[in-house]
């Protein structure tokens, strides 16, 4: 049969018969023979008590030192051979030590034994309820026979437990770190489950727990439940199972289980333990079809893996339960459950890493998408900026062109039109026609002048005007006195303002040439920053002047000049007395 004792330790003898005196706290005493293994919790569930097991050890060869290997005993024991106390594990009745956590091996010196006769083995034990108290059949044999078995059992139990604790701790730490970086519930649930798992599994091999009994028992039982629930939530998170009721339900179940587990242990009422088990069942039943559907129908990779793991786990657990039930918990028993736990932790770790890298990739893609979107926007912005810029430049160019066109139209155009009418008349003499043509040419030159880059400054505008009109002044016998002060650079005027000033000056000088009959003209220009950045230009002649009548004023284009001055935010004033000449004063203001 597959569940038979392995043949390796056939030499050592298992002592199965004992006469037990079982004492319960309330004074009830039971004295009877029984077969080991004896499980206290099976016989007296939920009760503390004491026991005294008396066993007979077969005779051993004379002078041979023997040994005893106790696979399991609890919770505090004292071992006597032939009345001599050979070992104590814990102090009877002191709950701070639990001997049931590890197997025990004891050497029995020959001096203690009865030569050639049987010896008496007495095991005194104190038990706490639900603490796996009792006695498994000890093995009697030589050191060579018993010690290797002990080592094997110990190593197996201890080392596997350590492996589980270590792996849970590592993967749990990784999950916690990842959860800190990225609040994904997958990581969070695993980290929490791992923490409680580590707590629980550490207790399995700890003989002297930190917490007092029965609190420790309750806490550890609760820890196991929390661990399991967290792992269930971990799986659900891996499957992206999200429902609004999931969290409230989880915490409700958790609450019930924790309370129930603690109550069960602390108050020694195993009934409560059953309630706990029952509460898990409906949840499992509800979720199972969902997971199966995911795995089978939708072929969801994670679901398939989890289902597979679940099946293996189920098989392992069932097998372990059967083994324990049927053949008892004996030495050399290889439990599959811890191995499953290791497998599970490994797979969980791999899935956690997977999920994290998946998230990283998603994030990177998102950033790349964002990047490209930003670049697109930037390009659009630049394009629209360029458009606006082009539009502004275009508008400025148009405005300038319009100004120039108007200038030419008003200047040369007017002259030519006037000239044409004179020519068509046939009445004007050639000299005068020539004058008009010269005037037209001057206008043209001035229009071209205004487009020169050097004309972006008032000094040059005035100077060039003088230079152009000087010949005509000389021809008319007019002596010009020219006084120009220092102007700031840049002059603070718009090109439109400069053009208007030029026109006004032209008009004023034309008046002097044509109407003043003067012999002298003074042109004076200065700039005063204190008077509001004011340019003041005066044209003063010693001619005949004019009467203060509206007709003469209009005829001399003074109204036009005044309008031009006002258009640039300046003022024009004309002073005259008969035979006292004319003084035209123009004020214009700069903007800095």
């Amino acid at each position: 049969m597959a569940l038979a004792w392995p043949a390796a330790w056939a030499d050592a003898l298992a002592i199965r018969d004992a006469v037990a005196t079982l004492e319960l706290g309330d004074g009830k005493v039971d004295h009877k023979p029984l077969a080991l293994p004896h499980r206290w919790d099976s016989e007296y569930p939920g009760r503390n008590g004491r026991a005294r097991y008396v066993m007979t050890l077969p005779a051993s060869p004379y002078g041979q030192a023997m040994a005893l290997y106790f696979p399991r005993m609890g919770n505090q024991v004292e071992i006597q051979v032939n009345g001599e106390v050979l070992a104590r594990r814990g102090v009877l009745g002191d709950t701070s030590f639990d001997a049931s956590k590890t197997p025990f091996w004891l050497s029995v010196p020959a001096s203690v034994l009865n030569d050639g006769e049987t010896s008496e083995l007495i095991v005194l034990a104190s038990m706490q309820a639900n603490r796996w108290g009792g006695l498994a059949p000890p093995l009697w044999g030589t050191e060579a026979q018993t010690y290797p078995l002990f080592r094997k059992h110990y190593a197996w139990r201890h080392n596997v437990a350590l492996a589980v604790i270590f792996s849970l701790f590592c993967v749990g730490a990784v999950a916690a770190a990842l959860w800190w970086i990225q609040r994904d519930s997958v990581f969070g649930w695993f980290a929490m489950g791992a923490a409680f798992g580590v707590l629980r599994f550490t207790d399995v091999i700890t003989s002297e727990p930190l917490l007092p009994w029965p609190l420790n028992g309750g806490v550890m039982a609760a820890a196991l439940h929390v661990h399991s629930l967290c792992m269930v939530r971990f799986f659900l998170a891996l499957l992206d199972f999200r429902r609004r009721w999931l969290n409230p339900l989880t915490f409700a179940v958790l609450g019930i289980e924790v309370v129930a587990a603690m109550a069960a242990i602390m108050y020694g009422e195993p009934k409560h333990w059953n309630w706990v088990l029952i509460s898990i069942l409906p949840i499992a039943l509800f979720l199972l079809p969902y997971v199966v559907r995911l795995a089978v129908i939708e072929r969801h990779k994670v679901a398939m893996l989890l289902t597979f793991l679940g099946l293996i786990a189920l098989v392992a657990v069932v097998r372990d339960l059967l083994v324990v039930r049927i053949s008892g918990d004996g030495p050399g028993m290889i439990f599959w459950s811890p191995l499953i736990t290791l497998l599970f932790v490994g797979v969980a770790g791999w899935m956690i890493i997977q999920r994290f890298t998946q998230q990283m990739h998603l994030n990177r893609e998102l950033v790349a998408t964002l990047d490209s979107k930003v670049q697109l926007r930037e390009a659009e912005l630049r394009a629209s900026q360029a458009q606006v810029q082009a539009h502004l430049t275009h508008a400025a160019t148009l405005a300038e062109r319009q100004r120039i066109t108007r200038d030419i139209h008003d200047g040369v155009g007017a002259q030519l039109v006037g000239l044409l009418s004179l020519v068509s008349d046939g009445k004007t003499d050639r000299r005068e026609l020539g004058e008009h043509v010269k005037a037209a040419l001057d206008e043209l030159r001035m229009a071209v002048d205004s487009m020169q880059p050097t004309h972006q400054d008032l000094t040059t505008v005035l100077a060039t005007l003088r230079y152009r009109l000087q010949p005509r002044l000389e021809a008319g016998g007019i002596e010009l006195t020219w006084q120009i002060g220092d102007f700031p650079d840049p002059d603070g005027l718009s090109s439109a303002a400069r053009a208007q000033i030029q026109r006004i000056m032209q008009e004023a000088l034309a008046n002097v040439i044509r109407h003043a009959q003067a012999s002298q003209v003074l042109i004076h220009a200065n700039f005063d920053a204190h008077l509001g950045n004011r340019y003041c230009i005066t044209v003063e002649d010693n001619g005949q002047g004019f009467q203060d009548s509206s007709t003469t004023r209009v005829g001399h284009g003074l109204g036009n000049m005044r309008a031009r001055a006002e258009a640039i935010g300046g003022q024009l004033s004309v002073e005259s007395m008969p035979d006292k000449g004319v003084r035209v004063t123009l004020n214009a203001y700069a903007q800095f």
């Binding site: 043209l444 071209v448 000094t459 060039t464 003088r466 230079y467 020219w482």
Partner: protein
């Protein structure tokens, strides 16, 4: 073999517009003391003539059919440094004229001047006086203003050699007065010097402009490692 020039002032006119050319020729021929030796209508014709002849005054239109008048100016300056070069221009647009001055021209002539004007100007130029508009004076001030200039090719500030580049105090004064519109006479009176002194300075200024531009060209060539 080069033919020596006759006693009166010899002139060569380079102008592609036939009417203008004829008008100029008429105006100059009618004046005593001026002799028109050649009328060229293209760069090629002008340069061919100048290879074998020396004239006292060269009148060049900037817009020629087969090239720029600047080439003719440069050729003339190098082939015959004694020749005075004048640019013929319609409106006296300063941008082109400054370039012409940098190439070596000493003055300009307006196409639309009367007969007297033309002859007067040519004689004047030969005598050493060069007219200067306020705008040109202004441009000159700008050109000579910075002690360092930014090389347009390498975009680094290059110190222009001091000898011919900077203006003397007197020259700067003259230019700024001319830029304000004062005539030569008025400038002379304001600065307390003679008219001929002003004319002399102005002539120097034109030379400086040409030299300056030449020096700058050399400097730039050095910068670029061409020399």
């Amino acid at each position: 073999m080069k033919i020596p020039s006759p006693p009166s002032i010899s002139v060569c006119i380079v102008e592609d517009e036939l009417e203008t050319l004829q008008r100029l020729e008429q105006a100059l021929k009618a004046t005593s003391g001026l002799k028109v030796l050649c009328c060229a209508m293209s760069c090629r014709m002008a340069i061919d003539f100048l290879r074998s002849h020396v004239v006292d005054v060269l009148l060049v239109d900037l817009g020629l059919p087969d090239g720029s008048g600047l080439d003719v100016i440069r050729f003339c300056r190098s082939a015959s440094p004694v020749t005075e070069v004048m640019v013929i221009t319609m409106f006296g647009d300063e941008a082109n004229m400054i370039e012409a001055f940098e190439a070596g021209a000493r003055g300009y002539l307006l196409k639309d001047g009367t007969v007297n004007d033309l002859a007067h100007h040519v004689k004047n130029l030969y005598d050493g006086g060069s007219p200067m508009t306020p705008a040109i004076a202004r441009q000159m001030l700008n050109r000579f203003a910075q002690p360092t200039r930014q090389s347009p090719k390498t975009h680094s500030a290059i110190p222009v050699p001091t000898a011919n580049a900077l203006l003397s105090e007197r020259e700067r004064d003259i230019l700024s007065k001319l830029a304000k519109g004062y005539t030569y006479n008025e400038v002379a009176k304001l600065l307390g010097v003679s008219l001929s002194a002003i004319q002399f300075h102005v002539k120097n200024l034109y030379s400086k402009l040409a030299v300056n531009s030449k020096t700058e060209a050399i400097f730039e060539a050095r910068q670029l490692g061409l020399l």
